[in-house]
Subunit: 430 residues, 2 copies
Amino acid sequence: MNKINIGLIGFGTVGSGVVELLQKRKVFIKNRFDSEFVIKTICDLDIKKRDTRGLKNTQLTTKIDDVVNDKDIDVVVELIGGLSPAKDIVVNSLKSGKHVVTANKALISNYGKELFKIAQENKCHLYFESSVGAGIPIIKSITEGIVGNKFKAIYGIINGTCNFILSEMSEKNCSFEDALKEAQRLGYAESDPTLDINGMDSAHKLAILAQLTFGKFLKVKDIYTEGITQISHDDIEYAKSLNLTIKLLAIAKKTNNKIEARVHPTLISKNHPLASINSVYNAVYLDADPLGKILLSGEGAGKMAAASGVISDLINFASKGADRKLICNLYDENTKLSLGNIDDVETKFYIRFLAADKPGVLSKISGILGKQGISINSLTQKAHNKTAAVPVVMLTDYTTEKKLRTALNAIKKLPAIKGTPVAIRMEKLW
Amino acid sequence: MNKINIGLIGFGTVGSGVVELLQKRKVFIKNRFDSEFVIKTICDLDIKKRDTRGLKNTQLTTKIDDVVNDKDIDVVVELIGGLSPAKDIVVNSLKSGKHVVTANKALISNYGKELFKIAQENKCHLYFESSVGAGIPIIKSITEGIVGNKFKAIYGIINGTCNFILSEMSEKNCSFEDALKEAQRLGYAESDPTLDINGMDSAHKLAILAQLTFGKFLKVKDIYTEGITQISHDDIEYAKSLNLTIKLLAIAKKTNNKIEARVHPTLISKNHPLASINSVYNAVYLDADPLGKILLSGEGAGKMAAASGVISDLINFASKGADRKLICNLYDENTKLSLGNIDDVETKFYIRFLAADKPGVLSKISGILGKQGISINSLTQKAHNKTAAVPVVMLTDYTTEKKLRTALNAIKKLPAIKGTPVAIRMEKLW
């Protein structure tokens, strides 16, 4: 019997889910993996307020050192999130020869390289399945499941809040504000939803995926990030009429020695599998050589979904031999790769603006686009109104971000144009 | 450096893909995993006809014993398929202390229990990722990725040939025969496509998935299996008009101590992610506790997709420590579980028959259905023709297979009914 002592730091939603699941699967883990996990210590600042019934043999503490300095603890499970004191906990645990399981996306995206190196130097494991997509085996699939492959591109729907809001706007024909309220009511959005809806949560997760697939450590602040707040119900309806869907995608692509990394609302074909990933579901669509395209999808958040990923990490750790060989040198960086500039990214665009319904307006607009070499593939102007401005929607051919922005700035200045034009990138995923 | 000697048996399409990929990823595997795979011996009955350029340091042979009896070979890669001599190769390799990687679905589905036990007794690993869905990490995800979960249901699109034919019939508005010809032209179907289109290939893979998820070893012959040959273009069109899609699904569900296992064409909602898995793509949709529903999809066949799964198995083997701990006791069977009878399975049904367009026919039919307690949810009769029979399509409420069959047998005997009624099960996947 392989007995493994766990020190759990952070006994909130996910932490209590982990304890619950370990207790529920005790016999299963014993029979199937010849292993027993003992929750030796739980550290939480609010430990006195937590429900600790059924944890008679567990030391309860508010002091991190009671875990990190305990020589009998084999694995530290860090579930407090954020950078401080999480980083110190993980670093000190690894340095004292403890293996670490964490669900902390901020930590891995900001300090992955440093932490992977410290883990390797101390011959310790660092598992982080739940940092992206909770229990969906995304990290496992990339690092082990399709490990002989080289990656060409990643497209991720990796923020459940945004995906819920966009799905809700589409299915219930409601506004962004109403969809957000519904997400908050159902517990799918925080009372302050900023980090979700501005795309930053997705950017953190994309940084982790880029590390694992391309071996490139990106700074989160260098990833071009655009949230979903400017998406209107009109855009959703236009998308539908064009057999398209709007998703907040986290995209990373490798071309020669450049890597593109960006998070933004994206129009994709309604027939693509990613288009049917709705509500709070997450998905990652990977283009790998030689395997081709694969899709992994599931619930990417929530107490038990996250706990499921942590338990998988623990069992995987237990299933390794006593001289556990480390998964791979994750800190080895591909130094030849550099991050491309968003200005140079080429996509097709959907653009929508309010224009006075007067002769000559469209010809002026197409003139400005033409000057930047941008071709218009289609144009829709649904309503006609001689007195008020009407929405005009155009789909362009491939163009660079820079050319599109230059054109939009010029269009915005036309007297016939009201408000700020909306531009949404389109991706062909096949 | 971890040097691993490979003995490859079977140098056909997949075998040559494996050699190609190992050569291509040599430096990557060395740098990232501190491992080197040496293809020590290749055994193939037609070895003289194969392209063996670039294999100067590899022993080429037609004798299986040159691999199985070679003490310097660490891992045997079995890629000949079928049961004989594949079973002897795998058994003898494991008994002589060699680890085994295989892509052989017939072998694992028929002899999994025995082979897993022999592997365990001899402290050897048996990897078989490519036996289901080629390189899509399905086996890995079930056995390791979401390992703390208990499984409730599996729904798989696990035969690329059938999925291509059904997609083609839907997209190109063509007949089964024309879609099959196109599949053969593109190399997606064998010249004798029987084992694909009659569902047997899916049944083999379902047996493997049921082993891994429910711990139940099913005999392939005990799995209710229905192919796609009776699906007409009419059915595809009716499905579309009902916002449904027809897929050949391999289904296994656990309810209490019973397991349902069946392969048949299935109507699913067009909005479900599985409905957008088209062409030769495969997908497995799993309902797990506590993770919820997850979907894994990708190319499930082909030289390099299968080679990709084999390489992942090899790298995963190499990444384990020298005292490699076995993944888990896969041969432990859940003896409390028994296979349910198809007669008792409850689903909704789509039924289509040709009926003379005469007064009273529909009332007779609904009378027969009513006698079995089957409610009709909707009825469509598109054409009217006083002289010829016209197609009638009905969707029923939930009923058992037995009741439906009893009703259909009675309906078939009505003088107004021409030909054999078609019945397609419907599944609600949310």
